[in-house]
């Protein structure tokens, strides 16, 4: 069973972000970086905001991050997540990696979640072909 109930929208990859999701399908969390100057960026976008190059490389993120902020969601704004509330949405930062943040979830007791808490990547199977990066307390 995945963290959010079946029917929760899945990524629908587009020309700008397809590589991110191809990596996820292979259980690899990688962020886009500039192929010229190396500046990391997220979400994926066609041009480097630092040197304006369109060259791209993908850099694998560390498996550990920190909770930058979080909310415990009690209101099911989408019908699919009615069985899933309360659930935790968190902003995950990777302080030793770079200034990119990922929206994700913290698996486990919502009451245990705190800002700055260290968390570890886990892969959550959401379809036959797709895994999503979620996190659990270290």
């Amino acid at each position: 069973m995945s963290y959010l109930a079946e029917g929760t929208p899945l990524p629908e990859p587009n020309m700008d972000d397809a590589s991110f999701w191809e990596n996820c399908a292979r259980r690899r969390l990688a962020f886009q970086a500039c192929g010229n100057c190396g500046t990391l960026r997220h979400p994926p976008t066609p041009v480097c905001h630092h040197c304006r190059s369109t060259a791209v490389v993908w850099r694998q993120a560390p498996s550990r991050g920190r909770v930058y902020s979080y909310t415990v969601v009690h209101h099911a704004a989408h019908d699919a997540v009615r069985p899933s509330v309360p659930y935790v949405v968190a902003v995950i930062a990777f302080p030793d990696f770079g200034p990119v943040r990922l929206i994700s979830n913290i698996i486990g007791d919502p009451k245990a979640v705190q800002v700055d808490m260290p968390v570890e990547l886990v892969w959550d199977k959401v379809s036959e072909t797709m895994f999503l990066p979620r996190f659990k307390p270290v």
Binding site: L4, T8, P9, L10, P11, E12, P13, N14, D17, W21, R41, H42, P43, Y68, S69, Y70, T71, V72, V73, H74, H75, A77, H78, V81, S84, Y87, V89, V91, P99, V100, R101, L102, I103, S104, N105, V115, D116, V126, L132, R134
Partner: protein, 392 residues
Amino acid sequence: MTDNARKACIVGVGESEYTRWGGIADRSQFQVACEAILAAISDAGLSPADIDGFTSYSNDANDANLLQVALGVPELRFAGMVWGGGGGGSCGAVSLATAAVESGQARTVVAFRALCQGQTRRFGRASKGRTHENFVNPFGLFSPPLMLALLVRRHMHLYGTTEEHLAEVAISTRANANRNPRAVMHKRPLTREIYFAARMIAEPLRLYDCCLESDGACAVIVTSRERARDLKQRPVEILAAAHGSGPGWGSGPLGSHNMPDDDYASTNSRRLAGDLFARAGVTPDDIDVAQIYDHFSGMVLMALEDYGFCGRGESGPFVAGGNVRWPNGKLPLNTAGGNLSEAYIHGFNHVAEGVRQIRGESTSQVADAELCLVSGGLGVAPTSGLILGRAS
């Protein structure tokens, strides 16, 4: 420097009735838009033949070209829309109208917003087409209260802001709505007990920390000081109007939360506020009353900091000290009841209330109000702001 005769003023304000979402079912959203605009034109003592421009924001569905047809506007000279959602362009629509009038591209422009969420979609529900939605929806981050709860939590972590501080914003705003017969929550007092007993939406935001979902429309008329002289109402001067964004905020709270670390627990208004006060030639201390976009109580706190009414991280104690209460606070806030308790007309009702304060017509009138700050939607990109004042 704009020459004096061409300086932009607001000379009319009008609106439809405001209801809960789904409350206007007897006529179309487009008709409601037309009615609010006609009310503003009439308030100004003008006729639709005098109008030559329309501005709006957030992809307002009531197109200028169709308004021209419906209202019988003989010649359209300016039609502009501020990009971006989340109400960020509310004051931006007025800044477009100001640009049109002061540059001479148009003479008399209607700035407006009309939305009937019962006829279109509820903003509090999940929807397709959100910014960077692949990085948001699959993780259950479906709607603005959830998205902005993340900023409020970070603000609490950094500065010790509390739920009591959030409650003060919601409760003081409701007290203003209770004096305003137009307000959806006019007859619904909000006590501390009711506030804390309400259900949690997305921690730390409870039900009454979140704005209403509404049906309604409002509009203002912008023209030059020279034309304003002959009109019915005492003109309200637009001392400064601005819309804009800091770096990275397009991937901000309504997207994947990748704005700069230094800015995260803020409203994306700090830079814009500096421009606005400098161009108006006034300081935050000079402002008598403020209408600050209150989609969520906690964002109002951060805006008080970004606009310089208190120091960074000090907004909680600032509101706890009674400073935003009408009538005796240092800065009475959202005097018609705001998005939280008057109606969610995407913040354009804040512009209308700003005009009323300067005209002396508010139901929570601040005595001798000469300067009013109005903010657009907060934490989005672009955001916007206005400083309104009595015409000299």
